[in-house]
């Protein structure tokens, strides 16, 4: 490795809601970016480059919105870069921004992810306006049914995840859904959407944005010396694989496994369950928690659901997952990946508030997209050498 370290010194997000009609697209991204700059004790002029990520432009009806958002994000006279890798885009946005610092291209980079789903109809846009869309739940339900058949998981595991994440969201002031009374029973009584996924096991459609400020090693150390704990990027990885051919396993995709192997190797992790303190995974439908635990080697084959059932993935469990409430509680699609990456960074900075995992020093985050084909992951730490 010849690249230099990158540190996250600023994190901001909007309050996520069904409709943020109080702000324009520009106002939405600016709200998150301003919070990230305040956290980093920087101003617009301190930023050298902006990386923006979001999912399809058809969702809001603004093509190549980085052009219009150049003004709102203070990118006049600066490089403005636009990433789009489906649902994983938020994660990829963070990775592209970190690479700009790690390679010495820029010292201070602002990464922003957003989606304002209330501006359009995502289901309609997914079908390109042809009304042909299964929707994400329809696409993933067959994979989930296969997982249940293979693993023999009891059917309560999905509802357990749905309840846990919504309870975590009650501790996160930015979360969209606040389902105070949710229970296994109420999840199981909610309408069936795509067998076996019920309404309360599915993510909402949200308006929201997330922003992060990256800086070089000197910037990270200066923040630390000032009493502002940075999060250090210990490793990052991306993988894509094709949608369909007989060699692909869409239930536990090879891309998901390779991506985890890559990021753990970079971070010096050989025993992920023991060395990582908590995980923020992209779980838009409840069953993806046990599935990703297995695909990312955080649980053995067929053991992901047992981890969930044992309570280990609860906020006070031995391996907390989705402390923020996850995608199940807030889903501004283009921001959702960056929100996962941001939550991992908040945890190792000790700044996660009521959803803080005590003593978290190393955290992993993941985002995925398309038909479980695009993966982005990173591992962040409270220090550059957490296992030393």
């Amino acid at each position: 490795m010849s690249h230099a370290p990158a540190a996250i010194v600023g994190i901001g997000q909007t309050h996520h809601k069904k409709k943020r009609w109080d702000v324009s697209l520009g106002g939405l991204v600016r709200e998150a970016a301003r919070r990230a700059l305040d956290d980093a004790q920087m101003d617009w002029g301190d930023i050298d480059a902006v990386v923006i990520g979001k999912a399809p432009d058809l969702f809001e009806g603004v093509m190549k919105p980085e052009l219009y958002l150049t003004d709102a994000l203070g990118a006049h006279g600066k490089p403005m870069f636009r990433v789009h890798t489906a649902g994983s885009v938020g994660g990829t946005t963070g990775i592209v921004a970190s690479h700009l610092v790690e390679t010495g291209r820029h010292r201070r980079v602002l990464a922003v992810g957003y989606q304002k789903q209330s501006e359009g109809n995502a289901q309609f846009a997914l079908g390109s306006g042809k009304g042909a869309s299964l929707g994400a739940g329809g696409a993933f339900a067959p994979f989930i049914r296969s997982y249940i058949q293979r693993s023999g998981a009891p059917l309560d595991v999905g509802p357990m995840v749905a309840v846990k994440d919504r309870q975590n969201a009650l501790k996160n002031p930015y979360a969209h859904l606040r389902l105070e009374d949710i229970s296994i029973e109420s999840v199981k009584a909610s309408p069936m959407m795509w067998d076996p996924l019920r309404f309360l096991e599915s993510c909402p459609s949200s308006d929201g944005a997330c922003a992060m400020v990256f800086t070089d090693q000197a910037g990270g150390e200066a923040a630390a010396a000032d009493g502002r704990q940075p999060a250090w990027v210990l490793g990052s990885a991306m993988r894509s694989e094709p949608f369909g051919f007989p060699g692909r396993d869409p239930v536990l995709p090879q891309g998901a496994r390779d991506c985890a192997d890559d990021v753990y190797a970079q971070a010096g992790i050989t025993r992920p369950r023991e060395q990582i303190d908590c995980a923020e995974l992209y779980v838009p439908f409840s069953w993806y928690e046990p599935m990703w635990l297995e695909a990312h080697h955080l649980a053995g084959p067929g053991e992901g659901w047992q981890l969930v059932e044992s309570g280990a993935t609860a906020l006070d469990g031995s391996f907390p997952v989705n402390m923020s409430g996850g995608v199940l509680s807030s889903n501004p699609i283009g921001a959702s990946g960056l929100l996962r990456f941001a939550e991992a960074a908040l945890q190792v900075r000790g700044m996660a508030g009521e959803h803080q995992v005590d003593g978290a020093k190393v955290a992993v985050a993941q985002a995925y997209g398309a038909s479980a084909q695009y993966f982005s992951m990173w591992v962040v730490g409270a220090s550059l050498d957490p296992f030393g």
């Binding site: 010849s2 190549k64 006279g77 490089p79 990433v83 997914l126 692909r248």
Partner: protein
């Protein structure tokens, strides 16, 4: 902006982090093809890797540039993973920008200096499937500009009027640019529009959108391009004549045309400075000047001398495969060095209304 190059610091190819273009390909540029974007990319990926003497298995990172609105489909790039042969799964990314920015991400990825030493950048677009005049207003600010329905042509006309009013260029000179590009395009086997045109006859035509006449506009084009890049050690091992990227940078400026001096391009100038265009003489510049008036404007912004040969391929006036047009410029700038003996060339790409965003790539051959 950070310094994105090391002026005159070393012979290109001597440093492990030096990165070279080692292969490229483009499709024939046509008014319409029935092939999908995936099929177009399948061809150029295969051909570009053949050109580099490599296979898909050698590629450690891929990045594509395309646009859902041009394709008319959400997540349109997802099926293009079939073209890159993403099995076993690949390190891969996508930008909703011209393929030139995909090349930028690929370049930065190679600078990471890990086991990834070959990367592939792609750009693809089929503009024939819809009316660009309906699509392009949607890339404007949705509150004040998009409702006006101002398409790329109208905004270009606004800028052309400003350039003409400033006295920097005449309508005859613009017609001469069009005639020169299409004459030069006769020797470009991929070009869509080429031939000999009489400037007086061109000037006798009515304006399409004043002051722009038909010859001032690019054609509507379907096409794709791919470029293979490698780190120094790999490039020298597999390629006899790598074309070194000695500087690459991009820059944006304010979106609202009314907030800018349309006779200049601040973002093109800053990108050129950051890429180090002025660090040596330039033989050839391939500019994404899709409208005639953009050529003199960009020549001035990039600080190019009158001796620089501009768009010998014919440029976007000869073929304009949106989302690949900029990457084609960089491939043509590389070809000018490897295949036609130039020493130092510039490739340029742009995006947005009135050249809002610009990317500049400086290329050099090996020095003896």
């Amino acid at each position: 902006m950070a310094l994105d190059h090391a002026p005159g610091s070393h012979v290109p190819g001597q440093h492990p982090d030096d990165i070279a273009i080692i292969g490229w390909a483009q499709t024939p540029m046509v008014r319409h093809t029935d092939k999908t974007e995936t099929q177009l990319l399948l061809e150029v990926v295969t051909d570009a890797l053949d050109d580099a003497g490599l296979t898909r298995a050698d590629v450690g990172f891929t990045c594509a540039g395309s646009c859902d609105y041009v394709a008319g489909q959400a997540f349109s790039f997802v099926q293009n993973t079939d073209a890159i042969g993403a099995w076993p799964p690949k390190r891969d990314s996508h930008v909703e920008m011209d393929g030139a920015w995909a090349l930028y991400e690929a370049y930065v990825r190679l600078l990471m200096g890990d086991e990834v030493d070959v990367a592939l950048a792609m750009g693809s677009g089929r503009s024939s499937t819809a009316d660009p005049a309906l699509i392009y207003p949607m890339e404007m600010d949705p509150f004040y500009l998009a409702p006006l329905g101002a398409d790329a042509l109208s905004l270009a006309a606004l800028q052309a009027q400003a350039v003409l009013a400033a006295g920097a260029v005449t309508e005859r000179q613009l017609a001469e640019i069009a005639a020169r590009c299409r004459r030069d395009a006769q020797s470009n086997p991929y070009a869509q529009v080429s031939g000999e045109f009489d400037v007086d006859e061109l000037l006798a035509e009515d304006a399409v959108r004043a002051p722009l006449r038909r010859h001032d506009l690019p054609p509507i084009t379907d096409g794709a391009a791919a470029v293979v890049i490698a780190r120094a050690e790999k490039a020298k091992a597999v390629c006899e004549n790598p074309v070194w990227i000695t500087g690459i940078a991009h820059c944006a400026e304010l979106h609202y045309p009314g907030m800018r001096d349309l006779t200049r391009s601040l973002s093109a100038r800053k990108a050129a400075e950051a890429a180090g265009v002025a660090d040596g003489p330039v033989d050839v510049a391939e500019l994404q000047a899709a409208f005639t008036h953009e050529e003199p404007l960009l020549v001035e912004a990039l600080g190019l001398a009158p001796t620089v040969t501009v768009n010998p391929s014919g440029g976007p006036l000869a073929a304009n495969p949106i989302m690949a047009t900029g990457l084609v410029r960089i491939a043509e700038a590389a070809a000018a060095i490897r295949d036609r003996g130039a020493s130092r060339t510039v490739g340029h790409s742009t995006s947005g209304p009135c050249l809002q965003q610009n990317l500049v790539c400086v290329l050099e051959g090996g020095r003896a």
